[in-house]
Subunit: 186 residues, 2 copies
DNA sequence: TCTTCATGAGACAAATATGTCTCATTTGAG
DNA sequence: CTCAAATGAGACATATTTGTCTCATGAAGA
């Protein structure tokens, strides 16, 4: 088949996210089977396990960036930007989870790029604080972690068939803002 | 050494949570090393990988139940019970994570017991709804998932040294309630 | 002191995973 | 139809993991 499957490579990456986000030590055979592909074919595209992991990491960051940039480009405020970013990230929680769980120690470049992403999220959150969306006495790190946790929660709800994409994103945003916008009284 | 280490078994279980919650496919050698124990010793306590996994699952549920029961016994309301349970679960997020990530397919009994725990959380949440703590128009499943997600988030904050146990639990509860107590408008 | 027993170290075989190759098949392009 | 490229199947050697055993050590209890 010359090019029936222009997406063989993509299928392998998708399978990688599915499999490794659940079990980062899974065998390549599992990934190949999930992709509906022979183990040899996987090796034709990615010579070694390490190479596959690296490709997955880059693809994850690429896709997340792309999706967020697209979603955010017309936002009128940082708050709206975060809201749109959340909705864009939800269906890519696969990728987010992979990046969060995979030990990136081996690739300093990837680790660095990932850290940079995290920093940017924090920066946007600080701006949203200025817009009054989040209380100033709540640590930005907590807001960022909650943002990711609730994005993942939304993904789980959709995966389990308990909510549509929009419903889940609304729930996540509602949980996040109405909670975090109230100053902590103690 | 006759019984210097009464805790060898516990050390292995603890190591199992640490290692498997990050990578459910990790080798037993990694677990043994983390426990500061030889691989042979691990096998003396748990003959096979499956046996270890099973012991971990039961121990996780046992410990979580114990901790929650202790914390909740003097609670005056379901809401207070949930608040106390959250604080009790935070340091055991290890166990929670293990149960959430490990494929329990092989042990119907464990899977069943785990499901039962989830149901009980949902039941308590429904009671807290009656007490006015959570809005009725928000799905209990969402509240339960958020509860676990934010508990885990609190654990991450503590682990990274960004908050004390109490601070993190307060943040999680504040995020959860002040957000979820507001009825979703549309 | 002498005994007992949990342990660590490590040998070992079997199972599993990894990476490389080869070969036959399929299918789209020409 | 013919050809070239991509693929699946699977053989193969190597590496890693698993589970079993044995042996020497050292500390607790007699």
């Amino acid at each position: 088949m010359k090019k029936i499957k222009l997406d063989t490579k993509d299928a392998i990456l998708q399978a990688g996210f599915d499999v490794f986000s659940k079990n980062s030590g899974a065998s390549l055979d599992k990934v190949a089977k999930r992709a509906g592909v022979g183990r040899a074919t996987l090796h034709r595209y990615y010579a070694s396990r390490d190479e596959l992991i690296e490709a997955l990491a880059w693809a994850a960051m690429e896709e997340l960036n792309q999706a967020v940039d697209d979603a955010v480009k017309d936002a009128q405020s940082y708050t709206e930007g975060l809201r749109l970013a959340l909705e864009a990230i939800v269906p890519l929680s696969n990728r987010q989870l992979f990046l969060a769980n995979e030990p990136l120690d081996k690739n300093p470049k990837i680790a660095e790029a990932y850290q940079k992403e995290q920093q940017e999220l924090i920066a946007d959150i600080e701006q949203a604080k200025r817009e009054g969306t989040f209380a100033k006495d709540i640590p930005s790190k907590w807001i960022a972690e909650s943002f990711e946790a609730l994005t993942y929660t939304a993904w789980v709800m959709i995966k389990d068939g308990d909510a549509t994409h929009k419903q889940a994103a609304d729930l996540a945003w509602h949980t996040l803002t109405s909670g975090l916008s109230t100053p902590m009284s103690k």
